[in-house]
């Protein structure tokens, strides 16, 4: 049972436009959400996160939105740049469970076209 889902395997966006990557989760115990970026043959690198007490977190060109009632989060990249082309994973964890286990989605491959 996939607790964290990314339903779009790929996304293509023109340089300078907005990229929107989506993620859904099923476990209501999740209270901390993260986005990672991964280039081929490298480990994932942390991008941005959000706690369930917030509905938005911004860091430069990256903004994450959380809709708890819909169990949905999204990552917005504005403006998109060719260097943003990578696979993006969302992840979730429950900080109250005591185990700090991170559950990842299947990933979305973003291609930013120059």
């Amino acid at each position: 049972d996939q607790q964290v889902k990314q339903n779009s395997p790929s996304l293509s966006v023109q340089e300078g436009r907005i990229s929107i990557l989506n993620c859904d989760y099923t476990n209501s115990m999740f209270d901390y959400f993260l986005w990672y970026k991964k280039y081929p043959a490298e480990g994932p690198t942390f991008l941005i996160s959000i706690s369930s007490i917030k509905d938005k977190n911004e860091d430069g060109r990256f903004t994450v939105f959380l809709n708890k009632s819909a169990k949905h989060l999204s990552l917005h990249i504005v403006p998109s740049q060719p260097g943003d082309s990578a696979v993006y994973f969302c992840a979730a964890t429950s900080t109250t469970s005591g185990t700090y286990k991170y559950i990842f989605g299947t990933g979305t491959r973003l291609k930013v076209l120059a």
């Binding site: 990672y36 994932p44 690198t45 942390f46 994973f89 990933g107």
Partner: protein, 114 residues
């Protein structure tokens, strides 16, 4: 800077061999994780450890075991390698803190079983 180091970038092993994947972190983190990444399946948790000599099964532990004799080192063992264990293996670590925090990943080990 947190550093998570995996002992090999690329490995080729024969079916039936016992395989050891080593991971070392230098930030005194309590939690360590082993994931595998496969196309279309995202990052799936194999095992994790929240303390020395402690381990818990993740979502896909079959065919794997782990060892954590020292805080900084977490080893993944394939008891008898099979071709369906060909994958990218990713080690991660994170601190056990009250606050929210991310996991830090190593560079990955691409394992091919022939």
């Amino acid at each position: 800077d947190v550093k998570v180091t995996q002992s090999s970038r690329y490995l080729v092993k024969r079916t039936g061999e016992k395989v050891f994947l080593e991971c070392v972190q230098d930030m005194d983190h309590e939690n360590m994780f082993w994931y595998r990444q496969d196309p279309g399946l995202g990052l799936r948790l194999i095992y994790f450890s929240y303390d020395v000599k402690m381990k818990e099964k993740g979502d896909i532990p079959e065919g794997y075991s782990v060892s954590r004799e020292k805080k900084e080192r977490f080893s993944l063992i394939l008891e008898s390698a099979s071709t369906n264990q060909t994958s990218m293996y990713l080690c991660a670590s994170s601190p056990s803190t009250e606050g929210n925090t991310e996991a830090f990943f190593g560079q990955g080990t691409r394992l091919t079983v022939v």
